[in-house]
Symmetry: C2
Subunit: 145 residues, 2 copies
DNA sequence: TTTACTGCAAACCCTTTGCAATTCG
DNA sequence: CGAATTGCAAAGGGTTTGCAGTAAA
């Protein structure tokens, strides 16, 4: 687990390196995800910002643009499932996959070394240069059964 | 691999059992997927029907409704990735996961027993009643490297 | 000063819905 | 006949874009 400040620093570095501008809005969006212990949609992030920072007059379009940018530079990742559209999380956590309750939407993270190894092997066998993977197990969680 | 006619028969059975009506449109949509060797979006299916069956005056809404129905009764499945929205395939093939080329969009199917077993175990450990899973490995295929 | 970035609103795409007409049972 | 299904067009939801104004370098 990486510290929030370090990630913010990294954002500053990336922005500078690309000759872009550092703005409060991008920082706020990243910060929300750094402190969320859940996967959030663009709209949820927007609403959170509206609530927690009523002074910052951010627009939903800016949230989308920031999310796109942050995902592009790999500071955050997204998964898409169901009808909720994309859900984002910060990319500072260790790699993991997702168990998703199709009833209440709850997401549990997990990680299995053997599965990871086998994925690499499968990609190699098919002559794919693997860049990432995404694995979701869908089911009904204990409290929804 | 199951024969197309058998699946069509199954559709007839399901429809009758549910007290619904058997329509040519649902059959056409299912048939397109049974003969596709690729994963298709709703719009691709719609366009295919328009081309191959110019006489059938089907509407895009009907395609969506048919796809929803067919997925509900488990004759087809869908995966969502990238910006293309849901892609459908018939459910008569044996279970498999997907290797996806992020450059050309090519999809390679694979299956690994050990991964399947481990998924079941992980779900059990987290007290999830597993209903399905979806696993995609993203990378660059041989011909795109 | 220059250029990227922003907020707003309109546009956009894909999907769903309301409805009158149609078809199946 | 009665109910499910259809095609059409309009509505919907989520996301993107054009633009004039704003703010970072």
């Amino acid at each position: 687990m990486v510290k929030s400040e370090e990630v913010i620093e990294e954002l500053k570095k990336i922005v500078k390196q690309k000759g872009l501008k550092y703005t409060e809005q991008r920082e706020i969006v990243l910060n929300v995800l750094l402190h969320a212990d859940d996967h959030l949609t663009a709209e949820e992030i927007y609403n959170l910002i509206k609530t927690k920072r009523p002074d910052s007059n951010i627009g939903i379009a800016t949230v989308y643009r920031a999310l796109g940018f942050l995902e592009e530079v790999n500071l955050i990742t997204s998964i898409a499932f169901g009808a909720d559209g994309k859900k984002y999380e910060s990319n500072t956590k260790d790699h993991h996959d997702h168990l998703i309750c199709t009833n209440c939407g709850k997401i549990v993270e997990f990680m299995d070394d053997e599965i990871e190894k086998r994925q690499d092997r499968i990609a190699k066998k098919n002559k794919f240069r693997i860049t990432s993977h995404s694995m979701q197990i869908y089911g009904i969680c204990a409290s929804c059964q």
